[in-house]
Symmetry: C2
Subunit: 276 residues, 2 copies
């Protein structure tokens, strides 16, 4: 693992690190904020999965999360959204290929050799962090924005016991029924839709739900509102009687100004679960 940069921030350290990823078969870069408390021992951790076109850097510099993470003594991990590199498959569309991994393990050509983002965020990166930093694997929570909200919800429901709480900003809630999802799942996983089901938060909510609290925020002026299919998740939550807050924020859009406005609430929400 290589240290790309370290900046003192909010009493702790905002680091950027790169490493040779076995899952993705390429160099992967991630951001990690460690609060001051990490100098004295392992701290709880909140994963932040980013959306389409983002790298590890967008949320790290624009979400304003470190301020609140420092207040609660929580570490933040910012993984990249896909494998990267000249020898990694890509597509001209902004919503497929590099920057658009959708947090799945691709089985199809040309994606399969590198696009193993599920294994990367569910297995490889957690093991790397646990071995290298003062992070408590027993106290993890997860959030994300847009495609990253999809990732957060699907990871949380597929890995029972891993995360104490899950939240999301403008998540893609029902990708098997959206143009943000059907194209990508077909490309990465092939045409058999039964293989897509475990990567759809709404289908997972209907099937299993989440053993913990859920918080989502979506702006009513979100320019991608129809693609998110929030109504489908809301209906599934209601039918299950899932512990959840599904919030709709008047006049907010899909941008990082929306994320940064509500990140304080989300981190306080996770802190409640992480320190319970």
């Amino acid at each position: 693992m290589k240290t790309v940069s370290q900046n003192k921030a909010f009493g702790g350290v905002q680091g950027v690190y790169s490493h040779d990823s076995t899952a993705c078969g390429c160099d992967m870069t991630f951001g990690l904020f460690l609060p001051e408390e990490a100098e004295d021992g392992p701290v709880p951790v909140l994963w932040y999965l980013s959306g389409l076109t983002c790298t590890h850097e967008n949320a790290m510099v624009k979400a304003g999360a470190q301020s609140w993470a420092a207040e609660h003594g929580i570490a933040l991990v910012f993984p990249d959204t896909s494998p990267r590199g000249d020898d990694v498959a890509d597509d001209d569309a902004y919503d497929l290929g590099q920057g658009a991994g959708f947090y799945v393990n691709a089985t199809q050509k040309p994606w399969a050799p590198h696009f193993q983002m599920w294994d990367y965020v569910a297995e490889e990166l957690p093991a790397l962090l646990a071995g290298s930093f003062a992070i408590d694997p027993e106290r993890q929570a997860i959030t994300g924005h847009s495609m990253g909200g999809h990732g957060a919800l699907t990871l949380a429901m597929n890995l029972p016991g891993r995360f104490r709480s899950v939240s999301a900003f403008a998540p893609i809630c029902h990708p098997t029924a959206s143009d943000w999802g059907r194209k990508q799942l077909a490309e990465y996983l092939g045409p058999d839709e039964s293989k897509w089901a475990r990567h759809d938060a709404t289908l997972l909510m209907r099937e299993t739900g989440f053993d913990g609290p859920i918080l989502t925020d979506t702006g009513t002026a979100d320019q991608f509102y129809d693609l998110l299919q929030t109504h489908a998740l809301a209906e599934a939550v209601a039918k299950r009687g899932q512990q959840a807050q599904i919030r709709f924020q008047p006049r907010y859009d899909h941008s990082y100004f929306f994320v940064s406005t509500f990140i304080e609430d989300h981190i306080a929400f996770h802190a409640d679960a992480l320190y319970a």
Copy 2:
């Protein structure tokens, strides 16, 4: 004036606007955050002047200032750092020309036709804002980062009565004695150093000081520490008996992680003066 974008943020609106600048002879773009309170009438305003290489956008997306401005009901203005455009003079160096206006009125070729940033931030943009937005010109404060800290300090001391308080993050404190200053002042203002004096915060502090409180933060691990010449300003403040807090923050560097860490303090500091 043209609205480039508006995003709801922290209960208010983060806007970006462009206009045909008389002072600079080109289109200029600025960011303006209006808190919710601006819907009911004029609010106090904090100017944020940015550093080398920045546009109106950097601080707007990376400083985390809107959160605290909203808490205190204060507007934020983010001007650009220079004129821009294909027909505007430039230089290959990152610290001269476009992105590096140094908040002066250039008198020398090739800069004079467009590089009138003093007039732009001291006269033209304030008049535009007062005429177009719910901003109270009687309650203004100013801050900035690096070159923008230089701008904030020199504007505040040159315009008595304009700003109730001034602060700065890692300001260039003594440009007439620094490689961040001597080259640019010679290029923009010519070789007569007497013309440079009113653009040097340390010289102004020796001469006139500021009728209000001053706050500066500088990281002790700032990679440009020597260029800032903070010791010269600190000495001048001490000799004058100026009301000021000159703070040195251990292990912080020159980055926006440093700015975002301390922006809460700065906005609270300005709120005290703006609501006094």
